[in-house]
């Protein structure tokens, strides 16, 4: 059956991407100059204000190597690394010693995931909705206004968009905080409100950033789909514009948009990292930047691996729900 083949292909591609990504993550930092253990030891020595004996240094070196999975030759290290990735055990963090990396990631991950899921979904829905109307009614003046939104938003670099939004909404109008302060403690109604309030600006910039492209490409797709014989025949059937726009044009034109979304997931994640840094948002991006700045290898490994894992998984999930929208794949040719 065709569907089974499709699923097997996607799952296979998923594991292949994970494997390649994780392997590159292992080798890339090893090409960088500097030795993390030496770094750490010199930090300890600087803090202690005295030099340690050679034996003490060697002892420290050995235990650190064990802790960070750096004993043995490259191949042994690689195998050990893979084993730890499978268990999602990245050892302790360097900067927050002895807190395990996995726990730090567990804390920051939901922030990023929550922000990204909401904004991606919103910008896809709103962007495609506007693009659909602009394309379906492309002969009308109002449609040109809608398209204009896309044309204006699309080419603006993300950081400029973010700065403009901050400038207007936070700095001039003072509607939102410049940097977020989240209520601590367990989940409560107030906490939810504070999260929504504080996340509004970063979310808004992400929606606006994703939006322009969706408007423009959906508009082009809708214009082309509108001329397809089945839409023309539906018109001759006497169906209403609403029926044609939604059931005939959108349901077909959204298929390439889902595929495009899958392909752009990596970039969306990229955008989120910038957002978190610009807005001091406590997600994975901030963690990753802190880790890179402090030379915290384990934390860096962990956050990169988690990133690869989540982007690939999101893509897989989209790929797997795609057949729900396209009967030609669901039911075979």
């Amino acid at each position: 059956m065709k569907l089974a083949q499709y699923i097997v292909q996607r799952v296979f591609a998923y594991f292949l991407v994970l494997f390649v990504g994780i392997t590159i993550t292992f080798f890339l930092p090893r090409l960088m100059p500097g030795d993390p253990i030496n770094n750490y030891i010199s930090q300890v020595q600087a803090r202690a204000g005295q030099s340690l004996s050679a034996e003490a240094v060697q002892q420290l070196r050995d235990s650190l190597a064990e802790l960070y999975g750096l004993q043995g030759n490259l191949f042994t290290q690689y195998i050990n690394y893979l084993k730890r990735v499978v268990r999602l055990d990245f050892g302790p963090s360097f900067t927050y010693y002895p807190e395990p990396v996995s726990e730090i990631l567990l804390e920051s991950m939901p922030w990023t995931a929550g922000l990204l899921l909401t904004t991606t979904l919103l910008s896809w829905l709103i962007g495609n909705g506007i693009g659909l109307i602009a394309g379906y009614y492309n002969k009308r003046r109002a449609a040109a206004v809608l398209e204009f939104i896309g044309i204006v938003l699309y080419p603006i670099p993300y950081y400029i968009l973010a700065l403009v939004v901050i400038l207007i909404l936070a700095y001039w109008l003072g509607l939102f905080p410049l940097s977020p302060t989240f209520l601590p403690g367990p989940i409560s109604w107030n906490k939810v409100v504070s999260i929504l309030y504080n996340s509004f600006l970063p979310a808004l910039t992400l929606v606006l950033a994703g939006f322009g492209w969706n408007v423009l490409s959906m508009k082009a797709l809708a214009i082309a789909t509108k001329e397809d014989s089945y839409v023309q025949f539906a018109r001759l059937k006497g169906t209403t514009d609403r029926t044609r726009m939604v059931n005939y044009v959108f349901r077909n034109a959204m298929l390439p948009q889902i595929t495009a979304l899958v392909l752009s997931l990596g970039f969306i994640f990229n955008g989120a990292l910038q957002t978190e840094i610009i807005f001091s948002y406590p997600g994975l991006g901030m963690t990753m930047r802190a880790a890179a700045g402090a030379g915290d290898y384990n934390l860096l490994y962990g956050s990169i691996v988690i990133t690869i894992l989540s982007v690939a998984t999101a893509a897989l999930v989209l790929d797997l729900i795609y057949p729900l929208f396209d009967p030609r794949i669901r039911l075979g040719r």
Binding site: F233, T239, P327
Partner: protein, 345 residues
């Protein structure tokens, strides 16, 4: 009876306006299958659009209207003005390509009940559709499928089912079977013929295939360069055409058991942008005289019920005999034929 009154259909393009159907006056009796033939670009599809009332940019009606000869629910006569309200109720349309006329992501049953005519009674209609498609040689579950799950022939049967389900007075079919293989083509046309016999609709069928016209239609309409050049009962028209263009169309039809070389149609029709003066067919016509190049022949009833737009309609039988004798069109002694033609007048 459908009455077409001086129809002029015009396309507005960046080069200016062009008449794709010009001055068509016709009466089509009820419950008749009318075949429409002519080379591509002669305006067949445009005439179908006008008949369907699908008039909108870039197509406009510069003059004339169609009177359909029946009244709507409010008792008003149905004409070009209000025919749109009758789409798939009193008039329906079978598109050219069944392959691509159905929405690939919707089940066929859902596409069967999104007509305005079915609003509010989808369940009831679907039950009727299920038994109706069985009559058309389809399994009732066929309507639960998506288009890609059916063969080309089955899909075209679905299109025929849609066009006939509401029992419209008029069915328009613009090359409804061109994308299908010959055997399937034939079964679809015979199906349409059966349904027509039962329901008594008027069908207008555009086809390139003169053989199909001969088998299926009762009347024939021959078009050339935006004009109707001949309109007559199919039997008469095939037996004795009264326009040289019709004769040449029929003559280019291969018949089984006849291995004489067929004459294709030499030359090509004039561009709509540069119409010759006089008869539009004159540059390709073996009968053409100076008069033809000067004076445009009107569509006239030469014999009762037989309309032709040719100054020398009476000489066409002679031309036919000559053609049937076998010589190539280029070898025909035009002078002789013309002399005969002059004598006939």
């Amino acid at each position: 009876m459908i009455r077409l009154e001086n129809i002029v259909a015009t396309y507005t393009t960046h080069r200016g306006q062009v008449h794709a159907v010009e001055g068509v006056n016709l009466e089509i009796p009820d419950s008749t299958i009318v075949g429409i033939a002519g080379e591509s670009g002669c305006g067949k599809s445009t005439l179908m659009k006008v008949l369907y009332g699908d008039i909108g940019f870039p197509l406009s009606l510069s003059s004339g209207k169609v009177d359909y000869g029946f009244v709507n629910d409010r008792g008003e006569p149905v004409t070009t003005e209000n025919i749109r309200d009758e789409w798939f109720r009193r008039i329906s349309y079978i598109p050219q390509s069944s392959m691509s006329s159905l929405n690939p992501v919707m089940r066929i049953r859902d596409q069967f009940v999104d007509f305005p005519a079915t609003a509010g009674r989808k369940k009831e209609v679907l039950a009727q559709v299920r038994s109706f498609v069985q009559k058309l040689g389809l399994p009732p579950q066929a309507i639960d499928a998506y288009p890609h799950q059916l063969s080309g022939g089955m899909r075209q049967r679905i299109m025929v089912a849609m066009a006939t389900f509401f029992q419209p007075e008029v069915i328009l079919a613009d090359e409804p079977t061109t994308a299908l293989d010959v055997v399937v083509q034939k079964s679809i046309l015979l199906l349409l013929l059966d349904l027509q016999k039962e329901m008594g609709n008027t069908i207008l069928l555009v086809s390139h295939d003169m053989g199909v016209h001969y088998q299926i239609t009762r009347k024939m309409l021959i078009m050339y360069a935006a004009k109707v050049v001949e309109y007559a009962d199919t039997d008469d028209l095939f037996q004795q055409p009264l326009h040289p263009y019709t004769l040449m169309l029929i003559h280019s039809l291969p018949t089984i058991g006849d291995d004489r070389a067929r004459h294709g149609l030499p030359g090509s029709p004039p561009s709509l942008w540069e119409m010759p003066q006089g008869c539009r067919f004159a540059p390709r016509c073996p009968l053409a005289t100076a008069r033809c190049r000067r004076e445009e022949p009107p569509l006239k009833e030469h014999v009762r019920g037989r309309f032709s737009a040719c100054h020398y309609a009476n000489s066409v039988p002679e031309l036919k005999k000559t053609l049937e004798a076998g010589p190539k069109l280029s070898e025909i002694n035009v002078m002789e034929l013309m002399a005969e033609a002059e004598r006939d007048i």
